[in-house]
Amino acid sequence: MSGNVDDFPCKITAREMVGEDILSIRVRCPSIAESIYPGQFVLLRDPSWGMDPLLMRPFAVSAVHGEDLELLIKLVGRGTSLLAERSVGDDLVVRGPMGRGFSSPESSPIYVAGALGAAPLLFARQVFGAGRFVLGVPGEGWGPFVDYLEARCPEMEVFSDDGSIGVRGTALDGLEKGESCPIYACGPMGMMAAMVKLEPVSCQVSLESRMACGIGACCGCVIETVQGKKRVCADGPVFNLEEVVWNA
């Protein structure tokens, strides 16, 4: 882990709903903003939750704006729904910077995102610079999310499963077999597993897993790799594509 991981009390400085169930939120956290690296993540909790929900929730950072971290959060359960109820000026506790991020590209990169997987890649693009940016979404209902991303990344190439937005297909349809540019990918496990068949020369993937501590203490978030079990939170969340055992 780079930077001194710690729990910081932070204020919400901006919030916006992107469509019905995605929250774009900014929190002021100078210490993390200064040291966080693309692919690293933070853990959040709301001090007014009491002890339920109990655990902090992990999220990628999608951009850094001065002292603010920007996050893109899909409302999928209790914690995320409660976060969406908070307003500008409210307090959150943020733990970070967490995990190992992407290593810098040696040539122009390709970003490959599945849905919310775009979040850490937007930040990578902010730091590493633009390259191709391929996005796949389910389709229907994802318009506002795609618009939000396109406003930040005009070169976005969009695919959707149902063909309602951009080209029908998945993000992987935007890639050639044996691609030689360095690929940065984040999305559903299925998408990343399928990437293996494309045999890219260099590909780093950012993974998700259920977490308890987020600091490498509990071994709750392990995945199977060719070198045995690794912790997503501390050994990842970014891994080399070849390292991961996908069918575990």
């Binding site: 882990m1 001194n4 991981v5 710690d6 729990d7 909790r45 002890m51 339920d52 929900p53 109990l54 655990l55 902090m56 506790v93 733990r95 259920r210 977490m211 308890a212 501590c213 987020g214 600091i215 490498g216 203490a217 509990c218 071994c219 709750g220 978030c221 392990v222 045995g228 079990k229 501390a234 575990a248």
Partner: protein, 304 residues
């Protein structure tokens, strides 16, 4: 000057707050002075004879105010602990408690023999006869006074330093187990490890964990852990360390007043990396307000 130091038998601790086994990592970034200044000691992850991969499948499930875990003692084994971990850990200056998992007697002897080599870097052994997340050994020892006594005697033969026994709340007769441990020479009791729980994923219609049952911890279990501490500390005269759901200064004070000499923090660390500091701040405020100078004067006070 408020005095928050305590003694666990012959082990002096600068603070009554210990980090529980399995809830703190070995990564260097976690061993900063500013994070650990308020901590009395750190318990290692359970150590087994050989490296262990731990359990497959889901390992973590959140419940109301609680946490189910089925890690299954994943660790790099005793040789790595002695050869790689200890040299680093000793440099941080925080007392280290080696949490030793009881699998079988032969393995236990092997582990303890290797710990003897680094006895000056291990402030106590915490004999773990209470992990519910493995098929063989561990908790099956801790539920029985006879087997607990057998395990403690075994360690005693090899290890001359302080020996703590971490009990399981699943013991049908916790006082019996506690007395057995005391009689066999344990220097302190940790009350307790996780409770047996489970979860079902209604979408897949299956138990969440491959082993079905899992260890249950967090604020949810605090009232039961407190009751066990009260019971056990009345049954023995060695120090008791309260463990289970402690997450505030009031929780620590309750444990102390119920008869504990110190507490271990596990799950609480996951939601507040500065929990030791925050707890001690609350405890100090209480002591100042109530004019208590020595925390030790509160041990077991609720029973008097």
């Amino acid at each position: 000057m408020l005095d928050l130091s305590v003694n666990i038998g012959s082990v002096p601790l600068r603070s009554p707050v210990i980090i529980a086994s399995g809830t703190w990592g070995y990564d260097e970034s976690l061993w900063r002075e500013d994070l650990l200044r308020h901590v009395g000691a750190v318990c290692s992850k359970a150590i087994t004879e050989s490296p262990k991969d731990g359990n497959p499948g889901h390992r973590i499930w959140e419940t109301p105010c609680g946490l189910l875990n089925s890690i299954g003692l994943q660790n790099t084994g005793i040789d790595d602990f002695v050869d790689e971990k200890i040299p680093k850990l000793k440099s941080y200056g925080v007392p280290i408690i080696a949490n030793v998992s009881m699998e079988d007697e032969r393995g236990l002897a092997l582990i303890v023999e290797r710990l003897v080599e680094v006895a000056d870097c291990v402030d106590a052994i915490e004999l773990n006869v209470s992990c519910p997340n493995v098929d063989k050994g561990c908790m099956s020892w801790g539920v029985s006074p006879v087997l607990t006594s057998q395990a403690v005697s075994m360690v005693q033969k090899i290890w001359k330093g302080p020996l703590w026994v971490k009990m399981t709340p699943q013991a049908p007769d916790p006082e019996g187990v506690a007395r057995a441990a005391e009689d066999s020479g344990a220097d302190a009791l940790v009350v307790a490890n996780t409770w047996l729980g489970m979860a079902i994923d209604v979408d897949s219609r299956k138990a969440v964990f491959d082993r079905v049952v899992a260890g249950f911890s967090g604020p949810a279990v605090f009232p039961m852990a407190l009751r066990l501490v009260w019971q056990v500390s009345s049954a023995v005269s060695i120090p008791v360390i309260g463990c289970g759901g402690v997450s505030s200064g009031r929780d620590l004070l309750s444990m102390i007043m119920a008869g504990a000499t110190a507490v271990e923090l596990g799950t609480g660390m996951f939601r507040d990396i500065r929990l030791p500091e925050n707890i001690l701040r609350e405890v100090k405020a209480y002591m100042t307000k109530e004019k208590v100078e020595d925390l030790r004067s509160l041990i077991g006070i609720a029973k008097r």
